[in-house]
Symmetry: C2
Subunit: 272 residues, 2 copies
Amino acid sequence: MQRVVMSMMAEWCKPAESVRGVLLDISGVLYDSGQGGGIPIAGSTEAVRRIKEADLKVRFCTNETQATRETFVAKLQNLGFDITFGEVFAPAPAACQILKERGLRPHLLVHDGLLPEFNHIDQSNPNCVVIGDAADNFSYKNLNEAFQVLIGLEKPVLLSLGRGRYYKETDGMKLDVGAYMKALEYACDIEAEVIGKPAKMFFLSALSDMSLEPDQVIMIGDDIVNDVGGAQQCGMKAVQVRTGKYRKNCRCCKPGTKTEVAGKAQQVWQHL
Amino acid sequence: MQRVVMSMMAEWCKPAESVRGVLLDISGVLYDSGQGGGIPIAGSTEAVRRIKEADLKVRFCTNETQATRETFVAKLQNLGFDITFGEVFAPAPAACQILKERGLRPHLLVHDGLLPEFNHIDQSNPNCVVIGDAADNFSYKNLNEAFQVLIGLEKPVLLSLGRGRYYKETDGMKLDVGAYMKALEYACDIEAEVIGKPAKMFFLSALSDMSLEPDQVIMIGDDIVNDVGGAQQCGMKAVQVRTGKYRKNCRCCKPGTKTEVAGKAQQVWQHL
C-alpha cells in the first residue's frame, strides 16, 4: 500500500521516499457534516485504514469547533473511522492553553457543544472574546454581546478558532467562523488572532507530536487557504481534494489564484 | 439665528456667508433610537426649528433602514421634529432605483419594517442580495441564506444599504449593517456596492435636491467615516457631533486617525 501512495505522490512530492506522515483535514475530506452526524465520503474510512497499515504516521488536523474532541472522535468512530482522541488536533484545546498563558478570561461565542472544553477556564469579568463556529448561536443578540464586550475593552482581544469562509454540510454550504470574525474585526477596527489552521503553530504542534519534519509530511484538505496554504507556509507539501467545499469555478479554490496547489489529485481516496 | 450659526461656523468654514444649507444625519445626532421609538437628544428639536427659521435649506441624510421613510418620518414628527417626507434621503429608495435600472431581482436581508419599500420590485429568482440594518433578522439562518444565494451566482452582486460599523441605541451600541456586509464579502470573496452614506451619489442627490453646491452646505453627523468623510469627499465641510456613537477614545472617532475632522463643536445643539 505504501508503494501505491508513494507512486501517487511521486510526481509532486519528491523525494517520495522521505514521506513518513500524513495530516488529514476531516470535514469535507473524510466526511460531510450535517444532520444525524453526517456522512462519510466514499472510500475515506478505507483510506484511513490503509494509510495506517502502510506505517505512515497520521494526525487529524481539524478546525472543528462544534463539539468537544471527545464527542467528535466518538462520532467519527461511529461512522467507521480508525481514529483516536490523541491523534486529533483542534483549535479549542490550543485556545485554552493560550488563555491560561496570557491570563485571558474569555467571553465565549461558540457552539453549545464546545462549551465543556472551556469548563476549567475562568470566564468572569471577560477581557477577551473567543469565537468559534457557533452556527445557530450566531444570532444578532449574541454577536452584539460579543461586540459590546470588545468595544468596552481598552485593548480589544479577539481570538478566532479558525478563519474559514464556509464549509459543506450534507444540505449545502454553511458560513464558517471566519465570516463572523471579519464582522467583529470591522466593527471594532481590530485584527483577530487566529487559533487553528492556517496558523503555523497549529501545524507545527501536530508535526512535533509525530516527531517528523515538515518535508516528511503531506497535508490533505479541501480548503486551499487553511489546509493547503497553511501547510505550505510550514514547508509541507499539500493536496487539495475536490470534495467538501471544493467548487470548480470558485475563485478561492481555483489553483493558482490564492496559493499554489501542490497536487492534482482528482480525489485521493478513489485512488488509494 | 443665522448669525449665530455663521459665527460658530466662521472659524472652520470660510467664507461662512456662502453657507445656504445643512445636511443632518438623524440617528445619534437628532435622537437615539431604541425601544419605544427612541429619545430626542437634548436641544435637537429646537435646533432643527431654528435652522429652518434661519432660512437655511435642510435635508436629512440618513442610513436608517429599519423602517420605510413614511414610518420613520412619522416617528420623528411624533418626537417633535419639524421634518417632512420629501426632506429625507434614505438608502432603500436609492436602492430600488438601482435595482430597476440594472434589472436586478433582490434576495432581501433587511428589517421587516423596510420590506414595504421593495413591494414593487420583482424578487423572483434572485440575481443579487440586498442587505440593510436587519437587526434581529441577522440570524445565522438568514445570513446563510443570503450567502447561499450569492455563492450560487456566477457573478455575485451584493448591495449594502450603508456600511456603518455600529450605532448607538438607548440601551447601548448595536452592530450595524457594515459588519454583516464584511461577513458576506469575506465569505464570497467579493466587494459590496454601498448605497447610502458614504457613497458620493447619495450626498450629491441631496445637494441637487436643494439646488446648492457642495461648498454651500454643511454636513452634521456622528460618524467620522460615513457622515464626515463622505461629505468631505464631495467637497463639503462637515462637523462631527459628540453624541450618538461618538466615543472619546475610539480609534475610528478620534480626530485625524481616519479622516480629517472639520469642526471642533463639542455639541452643536447646545450652542445653536
